[in-house]
Symmetry: C2
Subunit: 237 residues, 2 copies
Amino acid sequence: MEVQIAAAKTNKYAVSESGDTLEVVERPNGGVSVVLADGQTSGRGAKAVSMLVVRKVISLLAEGVRDGAAARAASDSLYTDKQGKVSSTLNIISVDLHTGTVVLTRNNPAPFYIAHREQIDSIVTDSSAIGVSRSVRPVITEIPVEPGLVIVLNTDGLSHAGERIGRPMDICTSLKAMLEDQDPSPQAIADALLAEAVAVDEDRPSDDISVVVLKVLKRHGDNVRRMTVRLPINVAR
Amino acid sequence: MEVQIAAAKTNKYAVSESGDTLEVVERPNGGVSVVLADGQTSGRGAKAVSMLVVRKVISLLAEGVRDGAAARAASDSLYTDKQGKVSSTLNIISVDLHTGTVVLTRNNPAPFYIAHREQIDSIVTDSSAIGVSRSVRPVITEIPVEPGLVIVLNTDGLSHAGERIGRPMDICTSLKAMLEDQDPSPQAIADALLAEAVAVDEDRPSDDISVVVLKVLKRHGDNVRRMTVRLPINVAR
């Protein structure tokens, strides 16, 4: 099998810095984890918060700490640092080669989506952001790694896209249409969802938007790990 | 402009775990850094060493520490931890949006390659691995971010490929041929170099091999950051 993970990320309109932070790290016992945080508000302040959260989580994961414990630690750390006044959403998606599962750790009111065969489930279990109290706990979902599995994770910029103009986006329906029509790559899914959100926001996203898509493929080609990063830049020179 | 970074990574033949560790992190002041370490020997022990080094470097970079200082700190940290008995190579390649440059920090006897227009330079300045003494210092090269720039970085698995059978690989020539013929994506360059190394090693790589390729493109499409990870897995179930 091959696990493919893709991410697409853009900023709120007219804000130069995204308040979302997304990092991918290798797990010490095999596999990878994607950590996504969305700091309260937007711009530089939000970025500092989401970086603090993601940095805490990845350093713990790299030491072998379990995902749920890392999320609780990040929450306590943020709570202590900001006296409970600043929240952040946090999602961790881990491919654990040890257990052969995908582990989803969620501190985010926004749902995530699991597609397998013709079925798309939207996971909406109540879940609160981190940093606001001493008793925050993540919602953890564990799913076997199987060919055909597609998981979509996003920050609330995607869920709330289009609300300003009263035309909210229906992520589940968009995802269903894509998966029925063809066998899209995770990057194609992430790009299409992000493009739709930007379109319903009339090309001026009202929040930072990040989309992560994980897909498990049956094919097993060479034994090579691959990674690509694409970074649009404006160098003022 | 758009900066694209691609990596391809495989294990030494018959060793389940690569001793190379590669991580990409966002820089707190904008841009990204790729950190690549190759721990001495191979397998589990080497992996622990390279993870220790990379983890140290990324945590410092995330705090805003400069690349050269992070490399020295990682060297001292490894020296202290292993009493100077274990070495590791270390390369950091950073796209610094603040200065509009690519900063290459190198503690690795293996050269790296810079291609711009028809010119390919192989940077071979003497540089030693980290962790072996208290006076290790990195070689730092800074290059303006310009369309057409291609940088290739690798662990010694690539430089030494084919030596066992007396048919060493000439990375510079292979790279030149690729760049003259077409306008390959960084992933295509990384994949082709890795495939050639595996071929001259007769499909049984005599060391872990990691290749990182950075390319600067002129085109500026949407303002979306993208990332893809592809992870071949064998789940024993």
